[in-house]
Subunit: 203 residues, 2 copies
């Protein structure tokens, strides 16, 4: 597909770098932008750049934040003694959406993955250990490991548990089991197996 | 979905305005950009803005162009006497990709559509009539109507034909028929009907 303009071509190339966006979609986006007013495109362009220039990460939990300490870490309504360790920002949003959790978070920024060249020093592991050790921003009583159930997630869980256990802190992980509303018949064996092994008292 | 940052929220809102992009994809794009270097995001941001500030439309055919007259209109290798009328920039690219057409183009920028509030003055119709009347950039011998086969496309074809006929110019339209490689069995009746009515000598 040859484009009639270098400027258009460059914009398409840039947009096609977005995850899951191919050349054809990128062209559609670029032609859409061309039809918008200059102000509108300027707004978008500036707002994207602000993602790099103005956006901060919370100094405690490393979640994205407009302020140095994020609203969750600085809220007095949250249980400061519980820290939920997640892979990324989306996971925080997913858990917040459940409205079932009132503790704090710790965003690792990934999981240990030697294949992708991600080691412990590329993740916010040292800062987590320091949080628990020194009680930042408050004494930590429980760490919930809410990492993905992949080989990499399990490796990270194992490493974190090894680091945290000596510190006299409760380490828990998410319950795995058959999803609410799913029938047993269609649940995969591993999930169903875990839900039996991890059965809980009927209340 | 509540986002942890106003800046992130604004970027997501802006990205979600792109055609076919929902909030979830927009968030994915924004988080992707956050992980890129500031230079990379600046490049993208500037390149999008240049779509409005630096990109021109060819003064003859109204296709996008980096120069005042586009490479197609200024090429001596093209047949300057044939003008193919299309709806938009993508159509020019589609026809160019066939490598079967060596004439010029005229990009209308849409088709007549009273429902969407698009009338003849919102389109490059007057400039087309002027091109044929005054022979810009060269005497026009044939106008090919390559608009979509929709009610709006047909209306526009009808109107253009009415305008152009008195000017002693040949007006043609694309052949419609069964696609190459398609079996007759699965072709829709209108297309198959047209391909019979518009049958051509076997060579």
């Amino acid at each position: 597909m040859e484009l009639p303009s270098k400027i258009l071509e460059e914009a398409v190339g840039q947009l096609a770098m977005l995850p899951g966006v191919g050349k054809r979609s990128a062209l559609r986006y670029a032609l859409f932008l061309m039809k918008q007013s200059e102000d509108e495109v300027r707004n978008m362009s500036e707002s994207l750049l602000r993602l790099k220039t103005d956006l901060h990460h919370c100094r405690y939990c490393h979640n994205v934040s407009d302020t140095e300490v994020c609203p969750i870490c600085s809220s007095e309504k949250r249980q400061q003694g519980i820290v939920c360790v997640v892979e990324n920002v989306q996971d925080v949003m997913a858990i917040e959406n459940t409205q079932q959790y009132r503790g704090l978070y710790h965003v690792l920024g990934g999981v240990i993955s030697p294949i992708d060249g991600i080691g412990i020093h590329d993740l916010e592991i040292a800062s987590l250990v320091k949080r628990v050790e020194e009680g930042i921003p408050a004494k930590v009583e429980e760490v919930i490991l809410a990492l993905p159930t992949t080989m990499e997630g399990d490796t990270t869980n194992y490493y974190l548990n090894k680091q945290l256990r000596p510190m006299n802190v409760k380490v828990t992980t998410l319950a795995r089991g058959v999803a609410v509303g799913d029938s047993l018949e269609y649940a995969d064996e591993i999930t169903l197996g875990r839900s039996i092994v991890g059965r809980i008292p009927f209340e």
